[in-house]
Symmetry: C2
Subunit: 206 residues, 2 copies
DNA sequence: TTGCGAAACGGAGAAGTCTCCGCTTATCGT
DNA sequence: ACGATAAGCGGAGACTTCTCCGTTTCGCAA
């Protein structure tokens, strides 16, 4: 099942052009500047080409987000691996909490772009690569913490907490501080550990 | 500060007309039929009037949803009050679980309309009356279960689990059964109870 | 090379959402 | 009753997003 034949040279070139133009407009004019029309003009390309390459406005925005997600992922893994240990290696509960805290910062940092994405297509988030990878990572850690839990469900539940619209509402309308989001996630993680493996030993430290 | 002066008679009449027309179109043509243009025509009213009354497409859809939410709320409270006891009165944990289970059904039943609403405005959900009331109700029950927890945060977290886009993804793309959503919520509620109220030993982080 | 089919391009215009503003209507004080 | 005034109305058209399809380009094979 090799499926996808490679992109033709002109197509690849235009994809790059469009992404570059979009990044430029985003930096210069904010998320509002990402109108497909404007991007096409900036990239010296027809509107049709934008749609052929990215499907719709949401696709364009998600492509930009994937870029940032890749950078985030690389940065996160790098500091964890190389960072002189940080002393927490191995304990899945700590690792899960650290990952979630990093995600909170990621979401808060890119809130504007994420809101555009969610607005352009509220369902697309769950189908995209970033979500799938975050979900897989969290699911594994949950399984390590609470083997009997429905890890797939719980991973979605933790991530649901970071939906852009909700975060924006909490932070902007209700005055939440990001640290409160992190503390809340800690509670949820604690609950998962405590609530599902109550039998044997409490999941205490060594 | 009495604020809002009452709506003029013609305004109220048109609001009704528009809502009725919208409900009719929804029944006949599905959520796609809710184009402001079409609704205006069906209601014998100018497009401008639709926008004056409801602000935007999202506002129109949310108005329809509030109606259904009111019905849901009435039905839920009725069965709980009159329903021959059901034997569970008073225990907040059971009450919370029952409420959440009912919400799962509500969301699944109205998924299509909720998706349109979320798509029209991903943030509006959190500002609307249904969300606020559900949130308040859940928050109180959580406080009864775990007085030291950040009930406001946790209420959002439980409701985040029911975001239309996520539910649609789980049910339609990943084949979740609604009962799995209910079971997952039970786990989360259990975790809240176990993780935060130190019945025995705190499942203590350092 | 040259020819050919598949892929990609471009941009006019369809479709949908929303705004603007001149005109109409309701309400209230006199 | 009767203006005065604020509220509401309607729909043309601006603006955005997306589609459609005739034309161009690419890549392969003879």
């Amino acid at each position: 099942m090799s499926a996808a034949p490679p992109e033709r040279a002109d197509a690849a070139r235009n994809r790059r052009r469009i992404l570059d133009a979009a990044a430029r407009l985003l930096a210069e004019r904010g998320p509002t500047g990402l109108a497909p029309d404007a991007v096409a003009r900036e990239a010296n390309v027809g509107v049709g080409t934008v749609y052929r390459r990215f499907g719709d406005r949401a696709g364009l925005v998600f492509a930009l987000l994937e870029d940032r997600d890749a950078r985030f992922r690389a940065g996160f893994d790098a500091t964890r691996t190389a960072g002189g240990g940080k002393g927490t290696d191995g304990d899945p509960r700590t690792r899960l909490r650290e990952f979630l805290h990093a995600l909170v910062d990621l979401v808060v940092d890119h809130l504007d772009l994420l809101l555009v994405a969610e607005s352009a297509s509220p369902e697309a988030r769950y189908a995209g690569r970033p979500y799938r990878e975050q979900h897989a990572r969290i699911r594994e850690l949950i399984t390590a913490i609470a083997p009997d839990a429905d890890a797939e469900y719980l991973a979605d539940a933790l991530l649901a907490t970071l939906a852009p619209g909700l975060v924006a509402h909490r932070v902007r309308e209700r005055g939440f501080d990001p640290s409160r989001l992190k503390a809340g996630l800690d509670t949820l993680v604690g609950g998962i550990a405590a609530g599902v493996t109550p039998d044997r030993e409490p999941p205490g430290p060594p």
